[in-house]
Amino acid sequence: MTMNPYRTQRIAFFFLFLANAVILLLVGLIVAVIVQKGLPGVTWEFLSDIPRQGMRAGGIFPAIIGTLYLVAGAILFALPIGLLAAVYLSEYAKDNALTRLIKLAIVNLAGVPSVVYGLFGLALFVVFFKFGASILSGSLTLGIMILPLIITASREALESVPQSFREVSLSLGASKWQTIWHIVLPNAIPGILTGTILGIGRAAGETAPILFTVAAFYLPLLPGSIFDQVMALPYHLYVISTQVPNVDERIRYGTAFVLLALVLIMNLIAIVVRYRFRMKKKW
């Protein structure tokens, strides 16, 4: 039997469509369930009040603030270091076996389970540096966790800037650093922001890395300094879902909804910034 190319294409198209439909359905279901069960519980009071009655009433304000601090701290730490490391790896490091090994190791670090980062943070920041369980320890731990993501994404963004741009800049007598600063980096920013978006999502959502390093079980106060503990949304969600009996479903799903919305909003900001840079891009 000869293959009918038209039919082959239809079959291929069907499976491509099917794969997308499955993904859409799953994501849609998750969002639908959380919105349906969580949205009724999300009131102004829920967003702005401290938890009350053993977390069975009141709001989640301290956990929202805690997560915002932790994400901001993690990005503040990981973005500059990650970017500088990526610039070094893609622009300065010689392409030899050692460099390739380092790149491979960094890519693989992105796959290390988050609880391992948690234990590492506990040993290094909490115990060895004596930061204690604190925003500082938690942010640094989350920062280290998202470093590989940011390095890898930034490196790919830098390497996707055409080599010819570098040659032109150098041929005009610009230094290597001028070339990186004026030509390579501006054109890599959208890709770097993509890595940052992924990092934000991961830092906001992970529970294990903050478990030992910062997260408070119940602390209805706002932190006074970076050496204080805070509540954080993912850990709070875990606590009220498994550790505290008889928490109303509206509070549990409401917390999940807020966490989801928070990540979405932070991503949106990064996406808008990225979009503006893409518009400025002239090639």
Partner: protein
Amino acid sequence: MVKFAIDNLDIRFGAVHAVRRVSMEIFDHEILTVIGPSNSGKTTFLRTLDRMNDLQPNFKMSGSAAFDGEDIRKMDVQDLRRRVGMVFALPLPLPLSIFDNVAYGPRMHGLPGGKRLLSRVEDALMSAYLWEEVKDRLHESAFKLSGGQQQRLCIARTLAVEPEVILFDEPCSGLDPISTAKVEDAMLKLKQRYTLVLVTNNVMQAARVGDRTAFFLSGELIEIDKTDKIFTGPNDKRTDDYIRGRFG
């Protein structure tokens, strides 16, 4: 006056022997055209002069090349490239506006913005015969220009640095005949102020603009002489065969 003195230049990229024991001189205010088939080493030779080959992995060079009597390998590479500009085969505008493309070099060398930068950009665009076409759209993206305009923009960008030598690497290979004629006109005018080295696959172009012509084959310099001599009575039969289109 001798601008470049090349002595026994030998270049390898790993196992590839790109240029073989080439010795020649390039004089002030001449247009030297370099012809030869693909893989004859002419572009590699050209990229030696502003040390762009340094960027290639496994690049090995022996022999010497001196610029104004100074060994180029002992010179500060940024200073060398400021004095020896390059126009590439394809039009390669930077992802910036027309103005910023031309201003890029002067800015990198510390010329502050303002009147001097403006007049430097204007002069460069005029010398590249582009000013009239772009003077009302200087702040548009350089990518909005046609291919021929982009290549003249690249020439203007190189001129704005005020080099002493300009290296052209097949600058018209992607251009239509009218754009090519404009670029050639620009080169002939530029000769008064600059030394030009033009690598070209277009033998007729070499005949039109060259004062002297060098013929490369398989990495060797076969012959270098006045362009008229090369095209009317070359010393080597292979040169004659090439310009008559018998091979390559």
